[in-house]
Amino acid sequence: MSALSVSYVILFYAAIGILVVGLGSRILRYVKTPAPLKIPTMPAPVTKSGVVMRLGREVVFFESLFKSNKWTWIFGWLFHVSLLLAFFRHLRYVIGPDNILGMLIGLEIVQSFGKYASYTMVIGLLGLLGRRLFVERVRYISSPSDYLMLLLLLSIAATGMLMTFVSHIDIMQLRDFAVGLFILQPANVPDSPLILIHLALVALLMIIFPVSKLLHAPGVFFSPTRNQVDNAREQRHIADWAVPLDETRGNK
């Protein structure tokens, strides 16, 4: 293996490690931190299944964002859906066509949707960047990292598009590299500059995930205003740290 391939293998194992451990420990922290009071944003569902629906609408349709601002919603939703479609397309690099999942991924419809999703992804990202640059209020709240995050995603999308539509790479070799990572038999990375940039940026994205605002992805599931059932009168809700206070809280 070339030195370049060795460094990419190390990079990816490091990135996966940081992503899994970093995200895992963050999620563990969210799980372990209690929500001592009932604070769902009302009107809220009165049953658990209602809460599942509410979170589902939030995650799938971005319901609250839709209520807030249609432009941000369109660009944001377009980007995320495109990302999901592109992700499905990329699964062909790690899942072979010899099982049902692989066959589904290999379907023309999944592949072409994934392909053209790159356009909508870029439109979405440019829209979000445009809002950040040109809407005074959004510009005011933006830090350098907010712009860099969009540029990072745009660069990943752009290099991916170049490989899809302009300068193809050896995707069998890429597949061997990707599978090799998973079965712990590292293989050479294709040495086209485009794929090397694309992969490096993806690794960077994975590395910064647990230490950046990308934590909104797990965060939404742990948001007490969205995931609590409206049943405060019916069921007593009390955090572990508040239990001892019951003993000292008053005379009765």
């Binding site: 969210y30 944003t41 964002l65 944001g76 605002k213 948001s223 809700h237 740290w241």
Partner: protein, 507 residues
């Protein structure tokens, strides 16, 4: 009238351009040691305030999932930037919810996150300095914790949670707000925000009984500390004190009278308000709530009914069970607590109340959804009952009702501008400016539909509107209690209905 300009009401809502630092000098009076001590806070800024503030932040991160998740999750999408009434009214960008959160998030990042520790400039992290602390004191007292921003945030980030945490941190280093902390101490000592002792309360209630009898010829009681009564009424102390609150209290008394139930007020727990919530103090909020449990046990009541008060209804509905429950000693056939609107609505459903709607014909009424009732509680069995039940009551007792702009009511309602512990004269500028979006929507229905009155079910809303309506060239008496409308139309059993008078009023 004041050393600031009242915003000009536009024909339609407008999202303003930002004006940097427009409200940087707004800050409430700082609590003195005598206000801080009874709450268990240091009397003045402690020497090692920086370490203690960071330590407190760390403690809260471990105790409140909301605080931890919300500080991590914001993507700066801007969805909330035009949603806060204080931003719309002041144009100060730090009154945009995300920017308000960032005043604290920037410090969180600096001390608690990898990115902020090693790349502070990149992610907008900053050291905690005295200037930052002062900025917190200023801008976290320009938030009424109304939760409107949380409705529109894709992650449900609730600035109220951040501002409560910020105030708790400030209190823990000795920088408290005089208004809130003085009041909480009064409740701990006397039992209500106004510091009304039992004899004064008794006098007031007797006076009201006489007023009702003079007015209707019927003896309606307002009992105090009556052991063995079925219902304990917990209501904001403003109801004992000022217009239009007191007319609401008369309304509750008449409804109880017609329902034929025995009820009582308590001089020990003569306050529904719980400012412990505003300062984010679980312990103080619990201590205030416990007075109600103690009063209910002492008086041996079977039910608790709650008067018209917004944040208090939030504490009662959402937090009482946690803080002062379980209420297994009360009658399980009724919700604990039950809102007076639920109580009245129930009687209306059962046809137990008789009304002469024409008594309210001189009014065209609209309803202001109080922020805490709308976004932090419920009434009845179904989600949204907090919107429908008060409206159903008003429509039962009034012939003329119109809603304001749909974007400004129900879950999207604008705060009155005086909630969250800001209802103090030293914050008049932010109160007046923060009321602008509500005033704009009200003005619209006044001009288009001839609305004469706005009804509310919150003591803070009522006090705030009484004060700010004149700034916007509207009458302070436009604001009424929902149970004032009920009271005016309710026909008491045995009451002599004077037809002539009814006709006069209708004319």
């Amino acid at each position: 009238m004041a050393d600031f300009e009242t915003p000009v009401l536009q024909k339609y809502p407008v999202i303003p351009s930002i004006t940097i630092d427009a409200m940087k000098d707004s800050a409430p009076f700082v609590a003195k040691p005598e206000h801080q001590d009874p709450l268990g806070f240091p009397g003045e800024l402690v020497d090692d305030w920086k370490d203690r503030a960071i330590e407190k932040m760390g403690e809260l991160l471990g105790k409140y999932r909301s605080f931890q998740v919300y500080l991590d999750s914001c993507v700066k999408c801007g969805a909330c930037t035009d949603k806060c009434h204080y931003f719309l009214g002041t144009t100060d960008p730090k009154n945009m919810p995300v920017a308000r959160q960032d005043l604290l998030r920037s410090v969180y990042r600096r001390y608690f996150t990898f990115a902020g520790k090693y790349f502070p400039k990149l992610v907008g992290a900053r050291d905690l300095t005295k200037e930052v602390l002062d900025e917190w004191y200023s801008y976290f007292h320009q938030c009424s914790q109304c939760r409107r921003c949380s409705v529109y945030c894709p992650y449900g980030i609730d600035t109220a949670e951040i501002s409560m945490a910020a105030r708790e941190i400030l209190d823990s280093v000795g920088v408290g707000q005089k208004y809130c902390n003085e009041i909480i101490a009064k409740v701990h000592k006397v039992g209500n925000n106004l510091g009304l002792p039992e004899p004064a309360l008794k006098d007031t209630l007797e006076g009201l009984e006489e007023d009702i009898e003079d007015d209707t010829g019927v003896k309606v009681r307002l009992p105090l500390d009556e052991k063995g009564a079925d219902i304990l009424l917990i209501t904001p102390s403003a109801d004992f004190f000022a217009e239009p609150h007191i007319d609401g209290l008369i309304g509750y008394a008449k409804v109880f009278h017609e329902a034929g139930v025995s009820w009582t007020l308590s001089s020990y727990a003569s306050e529904a308000a719980n400012f412990g919530m505003f300062i984010g103090s679980y312990e103080n909020m619990q201590k205030v709530a416990m007075r109600i449990r103690e009063a209910a046990l002492d008086l041996g009541v079977k039910r608790i009914v709650h008067g018209e008060c917004g944040h208090a209804w939030r504490v009662a509905y959402s937090f009482w069970n946690t803080l002062a429950g379980p209420f297994d000693f009360l009658d399980p056939n009724y919700p604990v607590p039950q809102h007076i609107c639920e109580f009245t609505y129930d009687l209306i459903q059962k046809n137990k109340l008789r009304f002469d709607k024409s008594q309210n014909d001189h009014r065209v009424v609209t309803f202001h959804d109080s922020c805490n009732v709308a976004r932090a509680t419920r009434m009845g069995d179904k989600p949204g009952g907090q919107f429908e039940i008060p409206r159903a009551i008003i429509k039962t007792v009034c012939n003329n009702y119109v809603d304001m702009d749909p974007d400004t009511i129900k879950e999207g309602t604008y705060c009155c501008g005086g909630g969250g512990g800001l209802l103090t004269d030293d914050l008049m500028e932010i109160r007046v400016k923060g009321a602008m979006p509500r005033m704009q929507a009200l003005n619209e229905v006044v001009e288009e539909h001839g609305v004469t009155n706005m009804a509310a079910i919150c003591a803070i809303c009522k006090s705030q509107f009484t004060k700010v309506l004149p700034y916007y060239k509207m009458g302070m008496d436009m604001i009424v209690s929902v149970h004032q409308l009920v009271s005016d139309a309710l026909i008491l059993t045995g009451q002599e209905v004077d037809d002539d008078e009814a006709d006069e009023d209708a004319a």
